[in-house]
Symmetry: C2
């Protein structure tokens, strides 16, 4: 098993190139050049038995740990600068595992333009990849700024990752092209910083959707002291057909599946078209799914009536 120093050497070799002004990896602390603006921090921990489904490589797991933090930055309109990694490796981990983790961190650096600046290495009962990320910003969108009549928007479709998980781990059946897209959404989540930056000037509130669409909408509603009527469920192509073929509740896959890593937010109604153009220019797509209401609660308009959307989704430690 490679020891701590061999692990650090591997990280430095594969993912440790740093611009001028940054300290080399390996001292007691990491030093990032002075920056102006608010200091924005996020930490998230990938834990093997809950976050790494069978079929996900260590390279993908390490990349995902960084993606989990990137997603939160994207939803706040902030570009991250650097990140640190706390690694917990199983006793039996070998050189190949460490190389895979280092490659996954490099994938993340290249994908999102962030720098690995340091970390630490431990032995643990399962793979743990803790990511702590820092960025700097003039402004950070919070969850509590929505006003009644604001429009509810999302930057991506929903339902693919939960479908992928069911294909990978529960034997759900699907045609090949859908299976490929669904698996990819699980193995290589793609939070988009360009879309986040383009959308930020228009947002009155926002958050990421890693715990599911319903949870995100309910959270924005509570934080802003209002409600939402959802007019349209933003289903990814093929999800409803997949659900029907596997006798699953398609609405639930979309509302409560989670792990989507797209942005859920609100925009003043007159600015929707400008925001859509800005997001399109950044390579994304902004979809209107509903509107804010003075009346609290989150409801879905369907079949000529309204029905409540429950606050379901992923709750850590809840046993779901």
């Amino acid at each position: 098993m490679p020891d701590e120093f061999e692990v650090i050497a591997e990280m430095v070799k594969t993912a440790g190139r740093l611009p001028k002004g940054y300290s080399p990896i390996g001292d007691d602390v990491a030093v990032v050049p002075p920056r102006s603006g608010l200091v924005v921090l996020k930490t998230d921990m990938l834990v093997e038995h809950t976050d790494v489904p069978a079929g996900m490589t260590y390279r993908q797991a390490a990349r995902k740990a960084v993606a989990m933090c990137v997603s939160d930055f994207a939803s706040k309109g902030v570009r991250p600068d650097s990140f640190m990694v706390s690694l917990g490796l199983r006793r039996g981990a070998d050189k190949k595992d460490v190389e895979e983790v280092a490659l996954g961190l490099r994938d993340a650096e290249e994908r999102w333009g962030v720098h690995l600046v340091g970390g630490d290495t431990n032995e643990a009962e399962e793979l743990i990849v803790g990511c702590a990320m820092v960025g700097f910003a003039k402004k950070v969108i919070d969850r509590g700024g929505a006003a009644p009549a604001d429009v509810l928007v999302v930057t991506g479709p929903f339902g693919l990752p939960p479908s992928g998980l069911r294909i990978m781990t529960a034997g759900a059946r699907s045609e090949a092209e859908f299976a490929r897209r669904a698996r990819k959404s699980v193995l290589e989540p793609e939070p988009d910083l360009e879309v986040g930056a383009a959308l930020a000037p228009y947002l009155t509130s926002a958050m990421d959707s890693s715990d599911g669409l319903a949870r995100s909408i309910h959270t924005l509603a509570r934080a802003s002291g209002l409600g939402f009527v959802v007019e349209r469920l933003p289903a990814a192509r093929g999800v409803m057909e997949f659900a029907a073929a596997n006798k699953l509740d398609g609405d639930k896959l979309i509302l409560e599946g989670g792990e989507e890593y797209v942005i859920v937010g609100t925009i003043r109604a007159p600015e929707v078209q400008a925001a859509q153009r800005a997001v399109k220019k950044a390579g994304g797509e902004l979809t209107v799914v509903g509107r804010a209401t003075k009346q609290k609660g989150v409801t879905l308009r369907a079949g000529g009536g309204l029905r409540a959307i429950r606050d379901g989704g992923w709750t850590h430690l809840s046993g779901r």
Copy 2:
């Protein structure tokens, strides 16, 4: 078992008071007010089966996780500002466990003047407390600045924590007053930011000593491209007697025990007395233990001769 939201509520209630300019705990990211200077980052992860000996409470474990980061900041002469915590709780964890963790984080906030600004919560196979800390500084002492004829100094005695561990977990025997001090050094590590700040202006190189005195000296030697002659082993009171009574190698306890969380550094010889006065004023004590030499290698002057000090100590993943 409390779910994620109950865990967050407990952290906010107990350890979540934040000054103006900080975002309240619980949004996707944490926001710290703008600061000037270099951005200093550190992450460290406390893992139950290697870092939490039998007899250590969850409160003490959580405090220790923060202390591990504080120690690195202290050794670099930097005052930390804020920290985030990534928590991994066992499936069976109960409300009391969460309260204990929150109290330990508050203990750390009060002891070192740092702010918990955010974190995340997970289920894991064992207790994991990842701490990610940020601070700001004009200058950060690195490991590579020592010059030949610099004096080697330490800010505390060595050997107490490894003695305490042997008393707590291996049935080693000792008289009561020593046992009390030794256990306390394990359960409540006391890295000292005041001492670090007072000493920083005099340091040419420095690091913390959590992996042991020998490891720290060898690391400074390698980073600075020189060697050290150690003239005196800085034994904590009672350690040599404890070692003798338990048929342990006292020198090894001092050199390779680890978990001391004191500063090991170098100072230009003419500045030693001024540095000692500054550290004393900050409530600490600065002890000269040797000097840097052009000749590489680390040796101990003992019995009229020199013998090599091996690069032993705690190496994560090494199986020691």
